[in-house]
Amino acid sequence: MIRVILPHHLRTLAGVGGDVELDVEGPVTQRSVLDALETRYPMLRGTIRDHVTQQRRAFLRFFACEEDLSHESPDAPLPEAVASGREPFIVIGAIAGG
């Protein structure tokens, strides 16, 4: 079970109160986690990744295990602690504006 922490506005949009728990089949990567997230919560499509290019939106970051994984390949394996559910995969809004 993968745990995902969403920023406040995306939790509101998805109608979830806390962490999201997802089953991910196959290798646990940014892409597979986000695919599973968007399948479960289709209202989030386009809010984290561009609809067409699938690139991360500029003002969002992906953190896990106290590391910034935003610039990693979307197909790179996520840390084992994320894959095992011990640590969450965090989607966070970059600090920008008021």
Binding site: H9, L13, G15, P42, M43, R45, H51, R57, L60, G93
Partner: protein, 393 residues
């Protein structure tokens, strides 16, 4: 007794203001979508309970929201919360605005001029304006940044670009204004379903006579000293256009500078600034029952986006332009330095006609007597981006 519902989009959420026909006591609901920029909220003329809203964020992009009960509850069309999605690829993505590509190359249809004069690909940023069909609640148009027009015919679930607008040849000459290259005005002709007008900053005004398949620039008579050729076919920074539905084709325009009118569907424009203290501004609107009565809010200049002399004044012309009177009763006449943005004025269709506008200072002012006197409905909202009105039976 009639009711009025004022739909307010702000930098930090949407608000719904309701009153009876007297328009002196108001209920305020909101913020809806708290924390998000609500660029535009507009109801369907075909079904007043159907309201569309553009919810945007620099972080999370574009969301389209829809209400089917007059703004009490909302959902993203095609993705109702709480329902498990069907297996297989998604059938709808109400925030998926994808520009048409060239059939020959598969690449973007065209490019536009960037700030440095080079050509730049179209990149979707947000929906500025939603214009529901006059006759079908499930059909709605979206004017977007970078400038293009999209249409949904399934209640906002799926969007298709009307790419004849960008494809007619002048696209490479369009350029962004300070607020971005936005398509902000969409006017539907109640007498001819094939005809509509749109306006873009900074490209100008355009008209289709075939339901959006082909478009022509309609900027003859506009003069813009800030572009190399002041009378060019495109490149003008049109801020807003208004039309009284009873007189299709008579158009009133607030340009960057200059207030203009056209009596022939935009073929030719003439200046009607007359005795205005300044003819820079953003909003313009027309009285619901007197098609020669028009309203603007003069703003000091392109460099100083606030009213001249710190006095918030709506100017009314009862002669279709040129002769203007200042309307000040109930509006602040000292130390007022707010702006009124292009989609932030609207009229109701009661008798007497109600006029409404919102400011960047968070006030929404209403006049129940066609502008003779004003009172704030609310004073302390976030900066107001848009104001629309529904007159309900």
């Amino acid at each position: 007794m009639s009711q009025v519902r004022v739909l307010v989009g702000t930098r930090k959420g949407a608000f719904v203001l309701t009153s009876d026909g007297k328009r002196d006591k108001w209920d305020v609901s909101g913020p809806h979508f708290a924390g998000w920029e609500m660029y535009h909220v507009k109801g369907s003329p075909a079904d007043p309970n159907r309201i569309y809203a553009s919810q945007t964020s620099g972080w999370f992009g574009q969301i389209i929201q829809r209400s089917d009960d007059g703004g009490k509850t909302w959902r993203q069309p095609g993705t109702p919360p709480g329902e498990a999605p069907a297996p297989g690829p998604p059938k709808a993505a109400s925030n998926k605005f994808v520009y048409d590509a060239s059939a020959e190359t598969g690449k973007p249809l065209t490019t536009h001029q960037w700030y440095d004069g080079t050509q730049h690909p179209w990149e979707f940023k947000r929906v500025w304006h939603l214009e529901p069909s006059l006759t079908d609640a499930d059909t709605v148009y979206a004017g977007v940044e970078d400038a293009a027009l999209f249409r949904s015919s399934d209640g906002g679930e799926n969007w298709k670009e009307l790419s004849g607008l960008r494809g007619h040849g002048t696209g490479p000459k369009w350029q962004p204004g300070a607020g971005g290259m936005c398509l902000h005005t969409v006017i539907l002709d109640p007498s001819n379903a094939q005809r509509m007008w749109i306006a873009i900053s900074a490209a100008g005004a355009f008209r289709t006579d075939d339901g959006g398949a082909t478009w022509k620039p309609i900027n003859r008579g506009l003069y813009s000293k800030y572009i190399p050729n002041p009378t060019a076919e495109v490149g003008h920074c049109v801020h807003h256009i208004a039309m009284n539905p009873s007189r299709p084709g008579v158009l009133f325009m607030q340009k960057h500078w200059d207030v203009m009118r056209s009596d022939d569907g935009g073929e030719q424009w003439r200046k009607i600034s007359g005795n205005l203290p300044t003819d820079f501004g953003f909003v313009i609107d027309v009285h619901a029952h007197e098609p020669e009565t028009i309203y603007v809010v003069p703003i000091k200049s392109d460099g100083e986006h606030f009213p001249p002399d710190g006095k918030l004044r709506v100017y009314r012309s009862r002669t279709g332009g040129n002769e203007w009177e200042a309307l000040t009763k109930g509006l602040p006449q000292r130390d007022c330095y707010v702006n009124v943005l292009r989609d932030a004025m609207a009229v109701d269709s009661l008798d007497k006609c109600g006029i409404y506008f919102g400011t960047t200072g968070g006030q929404v002012y209403a006049s129940a007597d066609a502008g003779d006197s004003w009172a704030p409905i609310v004073r302390d909202l976030p900066a107001v981006l848009s104001v629309e009105v529904q007159t309900l039976p």
